[in-house]
């Protein structure tokens, strides 16, 4: 190649094709996709909790995209029906995730609807799931000698509770749990667009 202008033009053309196919076309196709019937916008508390989920990097171990039964038995694990594009209508940024070091959380609110369980599990995952490798989040909690009025005390199995004190959830922990409990897409998805459904048939 003798001409660097031609070289760069060619290189940019190929990138333009790639951008068109992986960014622009999906944008045009999905832009008018309505939210799935039954999907509610997040409340302010849930949005704060969603921000906490991002702050702690939960997305690196938990996906939020159950797969089609023909591809993986995600539904048999209780993770829910395959997700569709409309389920993510209110999600910015998206939190689809690419890892399942821990289980998929798309419907964790339906699976574990107890706020006490969620709080205790965040404080010490191994108190509820023996063998879990999820990190403990003690910095989302305070250990006090006794609870003040209005404090959210975390109920823990006795052997995991600190001696001579109570564990109190910070606002951040409560927000995070509010978000987790909002993750419930057990309502049916309307028949998706013919070409916008789960990839595996």
């Amino acid at each position: 190649m003798e001409n660097h202008v031609k070289l760069i033009s060619g290189a940019m053309t190929t990138l333009a094709i790639a951008t068109a196919s992986l960014v622009v076309l999906p944008y045009l196709q999905l832009r008018h996709e309505p939210p799935t019937t039954g999907l509610k916008p997040y409340t302010e508390v849930q949005l704060r909790g969603r921000q906490e989920y991002i702050r702690q990097g939960c997305v690196y171990c938990h996906s939020q995209q159950p797969r089609d039964p023909s591809q993986a038995p995600d539904d048999q694990r209780g993770w829910g029906r395959p997700s569709v594009a409309g389920d993510y209508y209110y999600d910015r940024p998206h939190l689809l995730g690419t890892m399942r070091t821990g289980p998929d959380l798309f419907n964790i609110g339906a699976r574990q609807p107890s706020a006490d369980w969620q709080l205790g599990h965040l404080y010490q995952p191994r108190a509820y799931t023996p063998g879990s490798i999820m990190p403990a989040y003690p910095f989302l909690f305070e250990v006090k000698s006794e609870a003040a009025p209005g404090d959210k005390v975390v109920a823990l199995p006795p052997q995991f509770a600190p001696a001579g004190g109570v564990v109190v959830a910070t606002q951040a922990a409560q927000d995070l749990v509010a978000y987790l409990l909002s993750l419930d897409r057990t309502f049916p998805a309307l028949a998706p667009l013919a070409d916008a459904g789960p990839a595996s048939k």
């Binding site: 999906p26 940024p93 399942r100």
Partner: protein
């Protein structure tokens, strides 16, 4: 877009490709011994080895290991090369220095997060050390610290040599690098505090990203200026890769960071268009550029088939940009997009085979040179890892394979095969070659280079095998609905520990490398032949 249309278009593309192939055969583009491959040598230089990282005695052995006898290079051209090296020395050194610093940060963060996966109650009191953050610090220190700083430093150093001119506007690069690294330090600080944009590979807040944009542009400027004052007629293939990468990356980053545009599932497709293309259209071409320069340079022999390398370039440009969608196989995204990405992932076999065939044919009969050249060991092993990781990636994109490997540690192992096995090893080799020229000084302790090589080679082998095994076991356990989810965690544990052992060896290797780099920069250690390294002819003649 429907399936018949997709099949039809891929058929048309294939037929067009076939015609192009026949045409290129007719034009003699596939003949070996193209003149372009010899551009990196001065007249008479072919046959003479060049290995600044080795001891003088080792260099003589290397020359003996190559069968042909060297000619007498053109003194004027060698003088011009010295001038080229002098013009790029300062910016290249600044960038490589930053790169080594971030390599250390990234290694420690990576090792910490690896240990945390099997010791979940270790260091849990500090939010910034929790897995979700320290892992992200690791990724960003590699993705925006080590890899681009090393690759751009090597590119800045290679370009004046390749264009037989001096680097124009070196000061821009130095200031650009400083801005970039301030941005990165702030970005990593933000992640540690939990402030981030929430997408993999794009965590650093957009507001900080402005520093990257300005800094990156300033690093790129001298490369553009230098390209315009080149003194060579032909642009060597390394220049293609570097030139394209420098224009590709800013577009990727700007499109990805456009505020208030991306949403929901569309954002996920954009996320993986970006995440994959950073690897394929930035680190990969810059590393391939290094291989295509250093490999022939060390053994004093042009690459076997120059035109094959050009085919490799255009195939990479055409196919790689569209493979990102395979990260969403089975996800709630348009099916045509995933199919397109799978097809293009398989097509990537073409440029990869073009490259590996070329590397093998160039090295054939000369593998003994590996014994004598530290640069070559890193570069050739890195090149092999490129082949492995790309072929693995192509098959990983297939739905049948992806069903098992998706969402598992297998993907992490694969990413490390590309970014560590390939990019990082090639960069080590390139740095070993370039630094003696940049500082006009030899590496003080060549033994440390061997220590570095074996620590990272063995460490990475353990790392990769462990994590791949963990991923496959995890994938199969998760596909078996009769097993509880915890089974997929349990089976990975011994292998995650293995990963930490491998990672610890790699980190040790990096410590040896960084210490050596520092000693060299501070001019410590024995000086065997001083700046004699700048006159390699006197000793080999």
């Amino acid at each position: 877009m429907d399936i018949p249309l997709l099949l039809l278009s891929s058929f048309i593309i294939a037929v067009t490709g076939l015609f192009f192939f026949i045409w290129s055969l007719r034009k003699g583009l596939l003949d070996p011994d193209a003149a372009g491959a010899k551009v990196i040598f001065s007249p008479g230089e072919i046959g003479r080895v060049e290995e600044p990282a080795a001891r003088a005695a080792t260099q003589r052995e290397l020359q003996r290991a190559m069968v042909f006898s060297p000619g007498e290079p053109d003194a004027g051209e060698l003088q011009a090369r010295l001038a080229a090296d002098a013009s790029s020395a300062r910016p290249a050194f600044v960038l490589l220095g930053f790169a080594v610093f971030w390599l250390l940060v990234a290694s420690l963060a990576g090792l910490t997060s690896s240990i945390k996966l099997h010791e979940p109650d270790w260091l849990t009191q500090y939010a910034w050390l929790s897995f979700g953050r320290i892992r992200t610090i690791h990724l960003n220190a590699v993705a925006y610290g080590w890899a681009p700083m090393a690759a751009l430093g090597v590119a800045l150093w290679m370009l004046p040599r390749l264009l037989k001119t001096t680097l124009e506007g070196a000061r821009f690069a130095v200031w650009g690098a400083i801005l970039w690294n301030i941005g990165l330090a702030i970005g990593i600080g933000c992640i540690a505090m939990g402030i981030n944009d929430g997408m993999e590979w794009l965590e650093i807040p957009g507001q900080v990203g402005v520093l990257f944009a300005v800094g990156g542009a300033m690093i790129g400027l001298p490369l553009v200026f230098t390209l315009r004052r080149r003194k060579v007629e032909h642009l060597y293939v390394s220049v293609w890769y570097m030139g394209a990468a420098l224009f590709w990356f800013p577009v990727l980053y700007i499109v990805a960071k456009l505020p208030n545009l991306h949403f929901g599932v569309e954002q996920a497709t954009m996320n993986w268009w970006f995440g994959h293309n950073v690897l394929g259209l930035f680190y990969t071409p810059l590393s391939l550029a290094a291989v295509y320069y250093f490999l022939p340079k060390v053994i004093g022999r042009p690459i076997q088939s120059y035109n094959l390398s050009l085919i490799g370039f255009w195939c990479l440009a055409f196919f790689y940009g569209q493979v990102g969608g395979h990260h969403l196989v089975g996800g709630p995204v348009p099916e045509w997009m995933v199919t397109l990405s799978i097809v293009q992932s398989m097509m990537m076999i073409v440029p990869v085979v073009a490259f590996s065939l070329n590397q093998h044919l160039t090295m054939r009969g000369h593998f003994a040179a590996l014994r004598h050249s530290p640069t070559l060991r890193f570069i050739v092993l890195g090149g092999m890892m490129y082949t492995l990781s790309s072929i693995q990636g192509s098959f990983e994109a297939l739905r049948s394979v992806n069903t098992i490997t998706h969402f598992t540690h297998f993907t992490v192992a694969h990413a490390h095969l590309g970014l560590y096995g390939f990019v990082t090893l090639v960069m080590f080799g390139a740095i070993y070659f370039a630094m003696p020229r940049i500082l006009s000084r030899e590496w003080p302790y060549p033994t440390l280079i061997a220590v570095h090589f074996w620590l990272v080679a063995i460490g990475f082998a353990i790392y990769f095998v462990s994590l791949t095994t963990a991923g496959v076991l995890q994938g199969f356990a998760m596909l078996d609905a009769s097993k509880p989810f915890m089974e997929s965690v349990r089976v990975t544990l011994p292998w995650l520990e293995g990963r930490s052992i491998g990672g610890a060896l790699m980190t040790l290797g990096h410590l040896a490398f960084a210490a050596h780099f520092l000693l060299m920069a501070l001019a410590r250690g024995p000086k065997r032949s001083g700046a004699a390294i700048l006159r390699p002819l006197a000793r080999t003649a």
